[in-house]
């Protein structure tokens, strides 16, 4: 089946099995390896991407489902001012240790901040509740998002 969508701001068209996981298509066809496979069953959030600005797990999303949609991965998001603020805030707060979960957390942070530019701690914890991190214990990630929200005022 021919599937077209907007990937990181660029129109893409591919002829493939629409049941393939978006995760595999992103990594294998487009070399977007910032999208990680953790659990492969929609629990850990390492494969999170934004589809029409909504956070979704690309490991359980058949590529046929995103036909006609906008897909944003960490590689596309990296080009934005918002990303730079999050990157600096994560560095400042020590939100990154091994880094495997980080792209997913950044996408979850963007999904949150684009809906609520000044979230309270409860909203932050809810927004990242579908992402697992085995290193930080989460508090530093929560701090990182708080710092980004403060320093990025006006960007979201």
């Amino acid at each position: 089946m021919k599937i077209s969508f907007v990937l990181n701001g660029r129109d893409v068209l591919l002829d493939t099995d629409p049941l393939r996981r978006l995760l595999d298509v992103l990594r294998d066809e487009f070399n977007l390896t910032g999208v990680k496979e953790g659990c492969g069953e929609g629990e850990c959030g390492a494969c999170s991407v934004l589809v029409n600005d909504k956070i979704m797990y690309s490991c359980i999303l058949p590529v046929g489902s995103v036909d006609g949609s906008r897909v944003l991965t960490i590689e596309g998001y990296r080009e934005t001012e918002r990303y730079k603020v999050l990157q600096e805030a994560f560095t400042e707060a020590g939100s990154v240790q091994c880094g495997f979960c980080t792209p997913g957390f950044i996408m979850a942070a963007e999904a949150l901040l684009s809906e609520d530019a000044s979230p309270d701690e409860k909203s932050i914890r809810e927004a990242i509740s579908g992402n697992l991190c085995r290193c930080t214990g989460y508090s530093m990630i929560v701090d990182g998002i708080k710092i980004a929200s403060r320093k990025g005022r006006g960007l979201w």
Binding site: L19, G40, Y57, G64, A127, S129
Partner: protein
Amino acid sequence: MVRTYRPQSFQEALEIKKGAPVITIAGGTDLMVKRRRSTGLSPYFEVPAMFIAHLGEIKGVRFDGGNIRIGAACSFAVLLQNEATPPILKTAVSRIASPAVRNMGTIGGNICNASPAGDTLPVLYARDASVVLKSIDQERILKISEFITAPGETVLREDELLKEIVIPEKPFDVNFYRKVGTGMTNTISKITFTGIAEILNGMVKDIRITFGAVAPTVVRSRVNEERLIGHSGKEIEKMIPEISSLYSALINPIDDQRSNAFYRRSVSLRLLGHFLRALPGC
């Protein structure tokens, strides 16, 4: 690689259904996990698959002449945002999986999967929800309790699709929902309890009680509910031991990897007690 369909309308989807057996994919959050293979391989489907989550006709929530009508492909996130969604259903949906899964998963999927632990089901049973089933030739409307027959089993025919869910619009004064699981996120329920009540002049005018994940299908008993109707909170408080034993006979929990029967039974009955004590006048 099996054939896949991506119909442009609900009507076209029904035509495809009429032609040959297909597996319907809405949000895909359960199917893609159940049928997953190794990294890099497509999930396994033995018959053609049909995508329906993009069909705008079955994605909305609206008030309609005394009812709330929810499109089968309405995602959990949309349900949470829509003002027509009953508050008790929002409470249940807000505890389903995670933000990402709530953006993908649909209420129709939750119903058609017919898992004993499907978290919208006890609320839909309590609210007397019906399902509208469409085929090219006809439309059937069934109570949700008639639609789901066993774990994973429904009376949906090969040529039918679930089109919408219809919930009678009716305010309840007490809305009590509890989910018990091992965590707050991505947690499959060990037990869910739903209790709703309408109170008039200090008496229970209507009451609905359902238990999820403690029997093959949702447990609800109109006979037991009717015993409570017409009583005050004070009277009901005294009836708790009797009512608990009636429900204890109805629920039939199992031991599995998530919990055990003893825990499920005792917590179910405790939640029932909490709800009954939360009625006004207790």
